[in-house]
């Protein structure tokens, strides 16, 4: 019984760490711009495709870490580009315009990918994964790698936000976007950087997801994107640690609902529970009510 729980916990950690990585992108963007970047799920999908291109099309055999960094760089730049081209011109427009634009960007990315690759693709294994067994408990080296890389990226992000000038500027913008430029902080550059980092993490999540569940398709970002968005809301959108917490809670609830209850009711059970959390904590577990200005 204990082993069963432990085994399911490993499954939950793997799924949760991927949700958490994507949720971070939603939360960071919301923090600085108070907008939901609905194209984020599709950037996640492009992360998996970027990995496919780098692993299959290049004649040289790149090591795992190099592919991961390249994927993060490419998707990060794309995220910043989308912000520059599509969101910045609308920054002072009504909130609805920005949301529609974000949805539109997502659809453009998704359908462009669909037209280039209508068939689901199979991501090759970048290294040979071994199944390890400890006293009845099985874990693959791939699972260890995915959970490890995801946790590493989250710790890195936390340090970036708490210890660097960029992090301080980002927190300042999310605290009071009107006053910050008066202090000489280049707001536009900071927002671009936020998109770069958020999209980069989403791209990394796409690559890890593609390695864990090796079949990738142009529409894979939709469902996962929504789920990660929900995770961000549960954790308290705008809160970095909240996004991580929300991701692990969602992954955990989904896996445990299947583990101990009829799997048919998985989504019903997990989302009812999450709704219940929002009733008691309307701003999410670690979120704050917006600053009231008198």
């Amino acid at each position: 019984m204990f082993f069963y729980l432990a085994q399911q916990t490993i499954n939950a950690l793997q799924l949760g760490s991927i949700y958490a990585l994507i949720a971070l992108g939603y939360s960071m963007v919301y923090g600085v711009l108070v907008m939901i970047n609905f194209a984020h799920g599709d950037l996640f999908m492009l992360g998996a495709f970027a990995c496919l291109l780098l692993a299959v099309l290049l004649p040289v055999h790149l090591p795992f870490v190099v592919i991961l960094l390249l994927v993060m760089l490419v998707i990060g730049l794309l995220g910043a580009l989308i912000e520059r081209v599509a969101y910045r011109p609308l920054r002072d427009a009504p909130r609805v315009s920005a949301i529609i634009t974000a949805l539109g960007c997502g659809l453009v990315i998704e359908n462009t990918t669909l037209s280039l690759s209508p068939y689901p693709q199979f991501l090759p294994t970048l290294f040979v994964s071994k199944t390890l067994t400890f006293a009845g408990l099985t874990i693959t080296t791939l699972q260890i790698l995915i959970i490890g890389v995801a946790l590493g990226l989250m710790v890195g992000l936390d340090l970036l936000i708490r210890k660097t000038g960029f992090g301080m500027a980002m927190r300042a913008i999310s605290f009071d976007a009107k006053t910050v430029p008066l202090m000489g902080i280049p707001v536009n550059r900071m927002i671009s950087l936020t998109f770069f980092v958020g999209a980069g993490l989403g791209g990394a999540a796409g690559m890890l997801y593609g390695l864990a569940y090796p079949q990738i398709s142009a529409t894979m970002g939709v469902l996962i994107g929504w789920k990660a968005f929900i995770a961000a809301v549960i954790g308290g959108i705008g809160s970095i640690r909240g996004a991580v917490l929300g991701g692990f809670i969602l992954g955990g609830v989904e896996v445990m609902a299947v583990a101990y209850l009829p799997s048919t009711y998985r989504d019903l059970i997990s989302y009812s529970l999450l709704l219940a959390i929002l009733i008691f904590k309307p701003y999410g577990l670690l979120g704050h009510p917006p600053n009231q200005k008198v």
Partner: protein, 385 residues
């Protein structure tokens, strides 16, 4: 472009002016298939087979309608493997493109909504691959008048598979993992459980997931804890390959069993070593082919550079049935074609001899069990319901 060619040949043959509207220089047949979305390989096979069929008829001079030879014009719509889009495409084919009959959709989740449109507008429709009973039955369980299919139905397939597991594999315990949101897998899973348990087997785990899920680890861990001898996966080839991979990674060694939804060769590309040795139920095998089937397989292979899967074969038969019915009716009239289709005498198709049961859109036909072995589909047994 294709339309232009068909129209041009229509002009040449029938000597009529005008194209499409006014008079009927061609016989229009609609194709409503899954070109994009969850199972694009299925739609592609249908499109290939239907286009090959049409070009064969048109090269031979066209369809003989009471003395005049008319070419067939194939109008293709993509339903994206989505229920609502399948309905819209059916509506467009019937009302706007004015087709005389429709072939498709392939997936039951699309064929059922499309069949309601066909029934409402009284337009004959044949689904090549939809095995769910509800495709040809209305909500009260009575047969629809205008909807037919070219394949066997789920209850039959479930019996064949349950008996095969019990009698040939000699397994007594089974687990089932299926997509609860998709019509055909859902129906097959429940019917398999029913028949398997009626005949002395035991289903030790009955687990579900939802369309679009890629993480099956929680369900597989649960199944592993019950240690079944076989795992029945009535899933489309995409999902099946993903599940097989994750099951093997978790160290599950149980024999995998699939439904006809596995029959795309894509499953071998995607699943590789993980699906090797698995058995599944299918509509036909290229190994026990009749002369008609042999000709189809060689024509298709020559044209597209790969062997046809069962969807291609069934689409070819569906096109054949429609054409035969139009020829018998002698005119491109929906009601006349429907009547001719229902009464078609034994039709010698690629997937065997077909005949519709009186008052039903379901044909009487047989099934085969295949095994995936060294990257090929190998014939194992004929289906015994």
């Amino acid at each position: 472009m294709k339309k232009l060619i068909f129209c041009a040949s229509a002009l040449a043959l029938a000597g009529l002016t005008g194209c499409g509207s006014g008079g009927s220089p061609s016989v229009k047949v609609g194709l409503n298939v899954e070109l994009t979305g969850e199972m694009p390989a299925v739609g592609a096979s249908s499109k290939n087979a239907a286009e090959m069929f049409v070009s064969q008829i048109n090269t031979a001079g066209g369809l003989d309608l009471g003395g005049t030879k008319l070419p067939i014009e194939l109008i293709i719509g993509d339903n994206g493997a989505k229920a609502d889009q399948a309905r819209t495409v059916a509506q467009r084919l019937i009302s706007q493109d004015n087709v005389v009959a429709m072939v498709g959709p392939d997936a039951s989740s699309c064929a059922i909504p499309a069949s309601i449109v066909a029934e409402t507008f009284k337009c004959p429709m044949i689904s090549p691959w939809s095995t769910n009973s509800k495709t040809t039955l209305d909500e009260e369980g009575k047969p629809k008048q205008y909807v037919f299919r070219a394949c066997f139905i789920d209850p039959f397939e479930a019996r064949v598979l349950a008996k095969f597991v019990l009698n040939n594999i000699k397994a007594k315990t089974a687990a089932v993992l299926y997509d609860v949101a998709s019509e055909a897998p859902n129906g097959q899973a429940n019917l398999f459980k029913e028949v398997f348990e009626q005949n002395g087997g035991k289903v030790v785990a009955f687990e579900t997931y939802t369309t679009g899920d890629r993480d099956f680890s929680a369900q597989l861990t649960k199944i592993k804890a019950q240690n079944p001898e076989v795992i029945f996966l009535p899933a489309y080839y995409n999902d099946a390959a993903g599940i097989a991979r994750q099951a093997r990674q978790q160290g599950i060694t149980a024999q995998l069993i699939g439904s006809d939804a596995w029959s795309s060769p894509e499953i071998i590309t995607l699943g590789g070593q993980d699906v090797d040795g698995s058995y599944f139920c299918n509509h036909y095998s290229t190994e026990i082919a009749t002369p008609v089937a042999k000709k189809f397989v060689s024509d298709y292979t020559a044209k597209y550079g790969k062997a046809p899967d069962d969807v291609a074969a069934l689409t070819y038969d569906a096109m054949g049935l429609i054409t035969e019915a139009i020829r018998t009716a002698g005119k491109a009239d929906r009601q006349a074609v429907r009547n001719a289709l229902a009464k078609i005498p034994k039709y010698e198709g690629v997937t065997g001899t077909l005949q519709f049961q009186p008052g039903s859109g379901d044909p009487v036909k047989s099934a085969v069990i295949l095994q995936i072995k060294d990257g090929k589909f190998v014939w194992i047994a004929n289906g015994q319901p």
